[in-house]
Symmetry: C2
Subunit: 483 residues, 2 copies
């Protein structure tokens, strides 16, 4: 094990980079021990809660003029690990990115060590080819034999790419003249769509007023037209964030065809069902979309971030829309095919390599292994639902995502009371506070429209077993029984 | 060392996660050997050039139904490392992100293992506090005692944040009503500004027509006003991408004050001079800006990506502009101070942790160590210039970035010839091709305006020594002597 003595001795003889590599070795051991061993052990805590003030004090975050000893720095590595949430812990039911895949993680370490910027073939030969291949394989699952795409820093950005491309395709002059040169445009998104559609509408200059439809898309489009708007794009969702609902893509595609609108599918959460013969029917019609966002960092455990933006277009629309032809990067007199310099398709300049982790994981388990992962996630959901039915106090809001209220004993049978909803809405925050302060598990809650706070439990990680889900239910009961 | 036998034996008895950890250990060894040892050894190649077709064949990129053996996968890890560019190699003079810092790299491995999404205190307690502290320390170097900020996926995104905030501050209704509700806006950027200003103007709906000024900012602003535009923002540059020029910030600030425009400083490349007592004068006046983009992943070696967007504002403008108040993530009835849930300041939802690598590196060497790094970069530049003067055929275009033409013997003294410029412009691409195919080093070239192709050599990595720079010059001469 690491000793400060060792460093005191070696300090005199080791080269700067040898010292650095020694530090990296020791840090790697701590990462394995704290994050990967203890951090995935169901007997250990999922979080080590501290109030912000005491955590800040404990971490001694302040940055100073002088450097610190290697021993002190390793203690810092250990502390950061200790007080961070263990998102790969089997009791982390809180969000859609829990769980760890070791092949992906090896790919991520390699990505970090190589420190590659994915914009030209000369600087990223392996990853230009690899990203192209991975995008092709994802597109094939969508049902497209050809097309385009790019990895983006998150699903929100992917969704914004769709909006940007849709308006450029219809009005290419927007690139030089801006939105003022265009008629007012209307964007439509289905109920439960991710908030990034709103953020994107604001960020890209559309404004958020003209977004959203309920079940009456066709009527809403006609209304917008009658008000002088040009309808541009419909963003539908495969796997809504809270409820996990899948929009009827074929029906929406019919309406989009009728009005010639760009159909975008935000499948950040749900896209992975395309791997499953059993469940891919949930996205029937996706091949009729113009573009799809899909985050393998969610259900497939590829690791943050891995978000693919897929495009049916074969006319180089992505590059035409986003290119700026920077002559210091995208020179045209290079000695290889400059079409391999894919960076100008992006609105970023520096762009991280997000394909290697997915590619290595995919190579490791095959499409069949990823299919099993998706199928297992659905089995987990079924198991959890069955167990809830057997217990008192668990009231389902909705699945595919398992959303439920826990009704504490004191509220059972009181549904008729005037203050029932108010009291019920206060249950989840209290249970959440208790579980975090004890560190036993984490699960998210939220209100939705008229519905008061309910839990949303994500159980897709293949490392979760029945025992973990039983623990989850027991723990909700234990923490909520005297409310 | 790893043997396939070992895996065949252990396969039967090891748990899935133990197998995974074993794989990770072996992959780590390969990463250290191939990327960190061989990849930084001046005696080894900086790249192992292959034509795209043969590289694709060699890597066997195709994704299939069935998974592969651990031994085969480790061979893949080795191949990805082997055929990737060694961006930490002392002969990688190609771009502004070369070089490796082992403390930063340890922070990046820890970041990947923790797989944290930086949006709420409940999920990212350590990193919410850490990002806040790092941004504060960077702002202090700018000269601000208070303010706001966020880490973005690259400097381009940071620059776009500035544009988005400037228009929201002046016309908050843009968020709901879009640009159509606003007068036409004009954006100004100085010569040599990064192409992301153009990309941002297009992406955010402004259009690219109304961007750019030469030396006559005041007159350009008056002209825009007379044409019915509302001048909005001036984007100036501290360290232009190609030439490394620093705009006179104080002069530009005077004009911005006069017209009440938002002054943004794109210091993605140059910002790190703020650490240096000797060189921070290059950014005199930066404290008068409203916002600054600064990429510690460049001169400071923090690793891709580490891009800070810094803001002087103390009115919560960033959050008001970008928030969507998603109730599944940013619940207001949490048991801790919800102002710690900083994610709604971002236009992303999932957001990577980019602060840890910088924080750990900063803790390791202190502000003084980072100052030395910057000072050393400037010494490297001076050394290279001195050596060039002593040799024939090296003609300087410009420094801080060392930009130069190599005049091969056959062209020397022929400056008067009609085809001189054409012939000179063809020199750099050929030398580049030769160095990459031999794998001895990498350096970028580009044309600029009327100037034909010239080399831009970046020598800021503290691991580069005189010998490496001598090698660089020798190699240019060797590869170009018979042109």
């Amino acid at each position: 094990s690491f000793s400060s003595l060792k460093f005191n001795v070696t300090h005199l003889v080791l080269h700067e980079s040898e010292k650095g590599q020694l530090f990296l070795n020791e840090a790697f051991k701590i990462i394995v021990e704290e994050v990967l061993h203890k951090g995935t052990d169901a007997e250990e805590k999922v979080c080590e809660w501290r109030e912000p003030e005491s955590l800040a004090l404990l971490l001694d975050l302040q940055l100073r003029d002088t450097g610190e000893s290697q021993g002190r720095l390793l203690q810092r590595v250990r502390n950061v690990a200790k007080y961070s949430i263990k998102t790969s812990h089997p009791h982390f039911f809180n969000q859609q990115f829990g769980g760890v895949d070791y092949h992906s993680l090896a790919g991520r370490f390699l990505t970090e060590a190589l420190n590659t910027n994915l914009f030209t073939y000369e600087v990223a030969p392996v990853f230009v080819l690899m990203e192209t291949e991975v995008l092709k394989a994802l597109r094939q699952l969508v049902g497209w034999t050809d097309g385009d795409g790019i990895f983006c820093p998150g699903g929100s950005t992917s969704n914004m790419y769709a909006m940007n491309l849709a308006r450029y395709k219809l009005f290419p002059e927007v690139k030089t003249k801006g939105l003022w040169a265009l008629p007012r445009l209307a964007i439509f998104s289905s109920p439960g769509s991710h908030y990034s559609v709103q953020k994107g509408a604001s960020y890209l200059g559309f404004g958020t007023d003209k977004t959203s439809f309920l079940k009456d898309l066709d009527a809403k489009i006609e209304l917008a037209k009658s008000q002088g708007f040009v309808p541009l794009l419909v963003s539908c969702t495969s796997g809504t964030t809270v409820l996990g609902s899948f929009d009827p893509l074929d029906c929406i595609a019919d309406v989009c065809d009728k009005h010639q609108l760009w159909m975008h599918v935000d499948a950040a959460w749900g896209g992975s069902v395309l791997f499953s013969k059993q469940h891919r029917h949930l996205m029937k019609g996706v091949e009729r979309a113009k573009s799809v966002s899909w985050n393998p960092h969610k259900m497939l455990l590829a690791g943050l971030q891995c978000s693919a933006f897929l495009l049916q277009d074969t006319t180089n629309l992505l590059k035409r829309c986003n290119c700026a032809n920077a002559s210091y990067l995208f020179q045209q007199d290079k000695f290889y095919d400059v079409n391999l310099d894919i960076g100008d398709k992006s609105v970023q300049c520096s762009r991280k390599v997000d394909c290697l982790k997915l590619w290595l994981m995919w190579k490791a388990v095959g499409s069949t292994g990823l299919e099993h992962r998706v199928d297992k996630a659905f089995l987990h959901v079924r198991y959890l639902l069955e167990q809830m039915k057997k217990r008192d106090g668990f009231q389902l809001v909705k699945f595919v995502n398992v959303c439920f209220w826990f009704i504490p004993p004191s509220l059972r049978g009181k549904e008729g009371n005037a203050d029932y909803q108010d009291k019920l809405a206060k249950v989840a925050p209290v249970i959440k506070e208790r579980m975090m302060k004890e560190g036993t598990m984490m699960v998210g809650y939220q209100p939705l429209g008229d519905l008061g706070n309910f839990f949303r439990v994500t159980v897709f990680s293949p490392h979760i077993c029945h025992k973990d889900m039983d623990f989850f239910l027991d723990e909700i009961e234990r923490l909520g029984k005297c409310l």
